[in-house]
């Protein structure tokens, strides 16, 4: 077994041990820990699209939302018909729901990725922002899932084990993809798409793959989120949320998985720590973004400047 796979198994085992004691932990800190885990998955999945493949996506929360709603629908409206089929095992239902969420989100990723292929830089960013907002507005208009009132009464299946287990898998998948010889293509596309094409790399295929995989994991994270907060509403998956995730990726250093993980945790905890400043919290947060981009655009945990488009 390769070292990386071994590491994954060890991680999962450790997570299992820690999670087993969940009942002992202070609910608030448990809450923060779960949030960290969800954010890690989100940031790592976005990192594949933004960081490694250089496709600037500002609509990632849309995929999260699609996944959240799909998963929630399965465990609420369809629970009564599905559960008996699964032998009454709620964990199986949850797994199924998460998977469904991920797949629907991946589909959304495809729908967003394909038209966006021709666009670059600013335009791509704005289009993905547009898609994210369209997803939000559409969700707001679907009365069956509660529309703007949101969906309540989602069962709380999420636990430390699920969240961190998923995060570990996400990290492993993304990292394995990028560090394979196939995966070098992602970085080539980010560096200089035209040169990559000239070398025979099908940039279209890489970009779509990035969107698909990135969206899939965002959808999984969304499903996790839905069964954690037990209430979701379209407003929670809009531009503000997308920006939060983008800031994590930038803070961590685009294309630096380790950095992104640390950044996700740091920002989640920071958000909680800033609560004591009441309404200054958002002001401080936005100042942070500005200062960060001016002083250290390569992120806190990288040592080289962000790649610029050649030429």
């Amino acid at each position: 077994m390769a070292r990386s796979q071994y590491a994954l198994l060890v991680a999962l085992a450790l997570i299992g041990v820690v999670a087993a004691f969940s009942g002992q932990y202070n609910p608030y800190f448990l809450d923060i820990a779960v949030s960290c885990g969800i954010n890690i998955t989100l940031a790592v999945s976005l990192n594949l699209i933004n960081g490694y493949t250089g496709q600037f996506s500002l609509g990632h929360a849309g995929f999260m939302g699609v996944g959240a709603y799909s998963a929630a629908m399965l465990t609420t409206s369809f629970a009564s018909s599905l559960l008996p089929l699964l032998g009454g095992q709620t964990w199986l239902l949850f797994a199924l729901a998460l998977l469904a969420g991920g797949l629907v989100a991946a589909l959304a990723g495809l729908l967003v990725g394909v038209p966006s292929l021709r666009l670059k830089g600013d335009y791509l960013a704005i289009v993905t922002l547009g898609f994210g907002e369209i997803i939000r507005v559409v969700l707001q208009n679907i009365d069956a899932v509660g529309g703007p009132r949101g969906l309540i009464g989602i069962p709380g299946y999420t636990s430390l084990f699920w969240v961190y287990g998923l995060a570990a898998i996400a990290i492993y998948v993304v990292w394995a993809m990028v560090n394979s010889s196939y995966g070098r293509g992602f970085i080539a596309v980010a560096d200089d798409e035209i040169a990559a094409e000239a070398m025979g790399i099908d940039s279209t295929r890489y970009k779509i793959t990035a969107f698909l995989v990135g969206a899939f994991f965002a959808g999984l994270a969304g499903g996790m989120y839905a069964h954690f907060k037990q209430y979701i509403a379209p407003q929670g998956f809009g531009f503000d949320r997308s920006i939060e995730i983008v800031v994590m990726v930038i803070l961590g250093g685009m294309g630096n998985t380790g950095g992104v993980i640390l950044a996700a945790v740091l920002l989640t905890v920071l958000g909680e720590w800033l609560r004591q400043f009441g309404d200054l919290r958002m002001i401080l947060y936005s100042l942070l973004i500005i200062v960060l981009m001016i002083l250290r655009p390569q992120g806190l945990f990288t040592w080289s400047l962000p790649r610029r488009r050649a030429g």
């Binding site: 038209p115 021709r118 666009l119 830089g121 898609f131 002001i283 936005s286 981009m293 030429g311």
Partner: protein
């Protein structure tokens, strides 16, 4: 038939406001290839400046209105220059995405500062210009506010065109938009021209804010987000960097949006702008009035 005409007027009036805000976006992008996300919040500051300035002038007087309009345009011009100097200038030469994120940061900062300083409660914007409704046969109504919007937008459009095409600094702006390095080689003071561009764009945003507040007299610190985004779409629709394009894009978007609402899709109103954006970028990325540009390698 009357209803159709009424909706047409509504759409054009809405579109004219988008056009006004779009002018600012398009100018800054044209010169700097940079989407100034904070433009929508400068628009908001313009409206609030007008609100506070209006306390010093009598209501419903043309002279007072002009004072308030010019006053807030100046305040926002200064704000624009300050933002550029502090937040964007240090990033010159870095990747455009870094600048984009910084702009988003500035936008968030302005919004939250606004909520802190002005409180989140909407305030009612006073009637600066004398308000009248003109009713025509069949029940068609046009308000003086809507007429003002058309008039001021046209005025500013021509003024802007004059500045860009017929003045020295306008020429410098155009030179900068073609090639910054070459421009500085021929003696253009890039920094100064860029500051001027921001000042001009911000002044236009302020004008947009005042007119918007005159027609929809409820202002709050978050009022800029949606109109700003839609105005940006309008700018792209018309061909970003193209002044006439901003006007055309604004009007078209206003009409499309009003049509969608009139057809019963009012809850999809915001999505309309984005759908338009996506369609335009896919089908005709250079906008309605833009020119095709090949990417050189």
């Amino acid at each position: 038939m009357t209803e159709l005409l009424q909706q047409l007027i509504n759409g054009l009036a809405l579109g004219a406001i988008y056009a006004l805000i779009a002018l600012g976006y398009t100018m800054v992008y044209g010169v700097l290839r940079f989407i100034n996300f904070a433009h929508s919040d400068v628009f908001m500051v313009g409206a609030f400046s007008g609100y506070f300035l209006s306390r010093y002038v009598p209501h419903e007087s043309v002279a007072g209105a002009v004072f308030v309009l010019l006053g807030s345009m100046i305040i926002c011009a200064v704000l624009g220059v300050v933002i550029e100097k502090l937040a964007y200038r240090p990033l010159r030469g870095r990747s455009t995405l870094t600048a984009l994120i910084t702009a988003i940061g500035v936008s968030l900062l302005l919004q939250n500062l606004g909520q802190r300083l002005f409180g989140a409660n909407p305030r009612s914007f006073p009637a600066l210009f004398p308000q009248r409704q003109f009713t025509f046969e069949g029940g068609l109504v046009i308000s003086s506010g809507q007429i003002m919007v058309f008039a001021v937008t046209l005025l500013l459009l021509f003024a802007l065109r004059h500045i860009v095409l017929k003045t020295r600094i306008g020429t410098a702006m155009r030179a900068l938009s073609f090639n910054p390095v070459a421009a500085s080689l021929v003696g253009v003071n890039n920094d100064r021209v860029i500051s001027f561009t921001f000042a001009l764009g911000s002044a236009l945003a302020a004008a947009g804010g005042i007119l918007y507040a005159t027609n929809y007299p409820s202002i709050d610190p978050l009022m800029g987000t949606l109109p700003g985004l839609k105005a940006f779409v309008a700018a792209v629709l018309g061909g970003i960097g193209n002044i006439a394009g901003a006007a055309v894009g604004g009007l078209v978007l206003g009409l499309v949006e009003t049509t969608v609402v009139a057809l019963g899709g009012s809850t999809y109103r915001d999505a309309v702008a984005f759908a338009v954006l996506i369609l335009i970028l896919l089908l005709r990325p250079n906008g309605l009035l833009g020119k095709r540009q090949a990417e050189k390698v």
